[in-house]
């Protein structure tokens, strides 16, 4: 029988607990040869890549969603279960690579034992072998392999050559699959498996009497009911300082670059529709998209580093109780923090919230977090409000961010009140041992988020910028005698009609027109205002001229009203698309859009009328 049914594996799948270092290992194995998509019909992320074995053979790798158990409690775990039990559209892997954190075998061995019953050819990978040495743990891999009757190899996901043993193993032939029927285990069987785990663990692992892990000591500070919040405030403060200073500087560089390019075209091309399309439509659109990218990436660098170091789950723990007052749980913290970069990745990050009601609430309030697209508009209006007082300006900026957060919590509270289902939302969350983030995974994680933004948001903004350019370039069939070209265009007509809707909240015709293209993204409001006021020159010039005119011509109440409007109004088509996609429902998309418009109108109305009343005294 020897040799029969043996074949070299062509497709492998990585199975493992969350926090076993599987993602770092996958990144090390596949590098940039990755494809991220969704599994068919569900919003569960599917990651596939290609690796080269020691002999140079190509093997396709499926990185299954992290799962504590095949007794699934979340969509991610259900998908993993379905793939490895042959109940999905995915082909069964030729080899199941079961990844376990070598420093935490007591927790991770149980899934290995569970997976062993599936009947798939299998190898156990002990990851984080570098940390094993540091913590003074000793693992007898031969005894483990004999005890499990499964081959065992060691890896270090964060070292360049850390997966060499696995790459060599993949050049060995594996048996054919003999899939066994799978059935969810009952408590008695789980307890029996845990006894097996304890027995194997005792024979294989020798740990030092004194726990060398420093996590508990760090936790005493970072999870302290008072000092923990101080630490969290400092971390968030530093993060946003970096976003504003470093991000602002990089954004300015990109804006200079794109406006120089536009200028170059303007001087070398004949005036006409094509030049307009290129300079205002395409370069303006691409530039508008790229301008947010530095701020988004810096925020995501911080979020990814803090998350993989183990800190963000602790912050979520600290914030669980305060957020429960608003009907949320600590699990909503990371998605909401991501929404400060851009609501789209934030909304996608809600997938980690297993409770549907909590997840929906988080999706609905995510657009209230001040995303980076709001920064240019806020900056312009604040500069026009306080031209000679940067401190007051900074305080107003902080106030606008805070207003978004407070409004989000209030909305979450209202949603909770109106919901008849008052069941408790569980919080069973691992707070993994602290570790240094893996630079490779940080880089790949940032790249993924940049791609989400460029694909999902960028393409929509770019397309809309071009459509909007057409709308305000094509003259309206009705003719007006005077005004900038934009006021005589189709967009001008629309804005003209809208000014009656917006009059009670103090928006003049110029603002009404600018808000039409601003549907694509809030940032476009700035360039549109420039166009309405028929301003020319580089972006910085237009900004300066605009600031001047807004400062002189708009009443205080109008400026405040527009600021408040921009905090709430759903001026971002990409968010609508993301809500539709993630909830798989038009209804929730319209609920989100509707309540945000209502809130924006109401808040601006109050601001405008109140300011007028107060200033006329």
């Amino acid at each position: 029988m020897e040799g029969e049914g043996l074949a070299l594996p062509a497709r492998i799948a990585l199975l493992g607990n969350p926090n076993c270092g599987k993602t770092a290992l996958f990144n090390l194995l596949t590098g940039s040869r990755q494809k991220v998509a969704n599994y068919a019909g569900v919003t569960v992320e599917r990651k596939e890549g290609t690796l080269h074995t020691t002999s140079g053979r190509r093997v396709s790798v499926l990185d299954l969603p992290g799962a504590y158990s095949l007794n699934a409690l979340s969509n991610d775990e259900a998908m993993t279960r379905d793939v490895v039990t042959g109940h999905s559209l995915e082909a069964l892997p030729d080899l199941l690579v079961c990844v376990a954190d070598a420093t935490n075998l007591r927790l991770h061995l149980r899934l290995v034992l569970e997976a062993r019953r599936l009947g798939l050819p299998m190898v156990v990978v002990l990851n984080k072998m570098d940390r094993v040495k540091k913590l003074g743990i000793h693992i007898d891999m031969d005894v483990l392999a004999r005890g499990l009757n499964v081959p065992v190899v060691g890896t270090v996901g964060v070292h360049a050559h850390g997966a060499d043993a696995l790459r060599a193993f993949l050049d060995l032939p594996v048996e054919a699959t003999m899939l066994m029927p799978w059935k969810a285990h009952k408590l008695e069987q789980v307890l029996a498996t845990q006894k097996d785990v304890a027995r194997i663990f005792q024979r294989v692992v020798t740990e030092p009497a004194v726990d060398k892990d420093r996590s508990d000591r760090i936790d005493r500070l970072l999870m302290h009911p008072v000092l923990g919040f101080v630490a969290l405030a400092v971390v968030l403060f530093l993060t946003f300082v970096a976003v504003f200073s470093l991000g602002g500087w990089l954004t300015a560089l990109i804006e200079q670059g794109t406006s120089a390019l536009g200028e170059l075209l303007r001087t070398h091309m004949a005036d006409g529709l094509l030049r307009g399309l290129l300079t205002e439509g395409i370069i303006g659109g691409v530039g508008g998209v790229l301008a947010f990218l530095p701020q988004i990436l810096i925020l995501f660098l911080f979020i990814l580093a803090l998350e993989s170091s183990g800190y963000l789950p602790r912050a979520a723990f600290l914030l669980d109780r305060p957020m429960s007052k608003a009907g949320l749980s600590g699990r909503s913290f990371i998605p909401l923090l991501s929404s400060f970069a851009c609501a789209i990745p934030g909304i996608m990050a809600t997938r980690t919230i297993s409770n549907w009601r909590d997840r929906l609430t988080t999706i609905l309030i995510a657009p209230l977090m001040a995303c980076s697209a709001r920064i240019p508009v806020y900056t312009l209006l604040i500069a026009a409000l306080f031209p000679r007082d940067p401190v007051a300006g900074a305080l107003v900026m902080v106030g606008l961010y805070a207003l978004g957060v407070v409004a989000a919590m209030a909305v979450a509270w209202v949603i909770k009140r109106t919901d008849r289902d008052r069941s408790r939302s569980p919080l069973l969350m691992e707070l993994p041992a602290y570790q240094w983030p893996d630079p490779r995974s940080l880089a790949i994680g940032m790249w993924e988020r940049a791609m989400i933004f460029v694909r999902r948001v960028g393409t929509i903004i770019l397309a809309l910028t071009i459509v909007m350019w057409a709308l305000y370039t094509i003259p309206s069939p009705r003719t007006h005698a005077q005004g900038a070209p934009i006021t005589r265009s189709l967009a001008g007509e629309l804005g003209h009609a809208l000014q009656y809707v917006f009059a009670p909240i103090g928006f003049n015709e110029e603002i009404s027109i600018a808000l039409v293209p601003g549907m694509a993204a809030r940032e476009v409001v700035v360039s549109s205002l420039g166009m309405v006021y028929a301003m020319n020159g580089s972006e910085a010039d237009v900004d300066a001229q605009l600031r001047e005119r807004i400062h002189k011509e708009w009443p205080l109440a109008t400026k405040l009203s527009l600021l408040i409007w921009l905090v709430f109004a759903p001026q971002c088509l990409s968010t609508f698309v993301a809500v539709k996609r993630e909830t798989n429902s038009w209804k929730y998309m319209w609920i989100m859009g509707g309540y945000l418009f209502g809130l924006a109108y109401l808040a601006s109305l109050i601001t405008y009328q109140l300011t007028n009343a107060l200033t006329s005294i």
């Binding site: 504590y68 158990s69 007794n71 409690l73 420093t103 935490n104 007591r106 927790l107 149980r110 408590l187 789980v190 307890l191 845990q194 304890a198 892990d213 996590s215 508990d216 936790d219 005493r220 999870m223 302290h224 009911p225 789950p313 979520a316 723990f317 600290l318 669980d320 109780r321 429960s324 600590g330 069941s423 408790r424 569980p426 919080l427 069973l428 969350m429 691992e430 707070l431 993994p432 041992a433």
Partner: protein, 90 residues
């Protein structure tokens, strides 16, 4: 199941912060949602004989709890912790 009559037992949500204890028993709830959660706790290693301690509590109201078990810390609600029976170690 395992219950030692001579040692005092308490529920995990009553265990004072910092006090090491060992798991004595796990209660099986009747509510299916809770039952799934308790099954998960057992899968995560909350099984008789394991040592644990509370390393952090959320405020106000000591909710949620951060429980150190082996090399892992888990955040769980008091409600979830109330299904775990523990015996303090001296």
């Amino acid at each position: 199941m395992l219950t030692a009559a001579d040692t005092p037992t308490l529920l995990l949500n009553e265990l004072p912060e910092g006090q090491w204890a060992s798991v004595v028993d796990v209660t099986v709830p009747t509510n299916p949602v809770d039952r799934d959660l308790v099954l998960r706790l057992v899968e995560l290693g909350f099984v008789p004989g394991e040592r644990l301690r509370v390393v952090g509590v959320g405020q106000p109201g000591r909710e949620p709890l951060a429980v150190r078990l082996g090399h892992t810390t888990f955040a769980l609600r008091r409600h979830e912790a109330s299904f775990i029976l523990v015996s303090p170690l001296t």
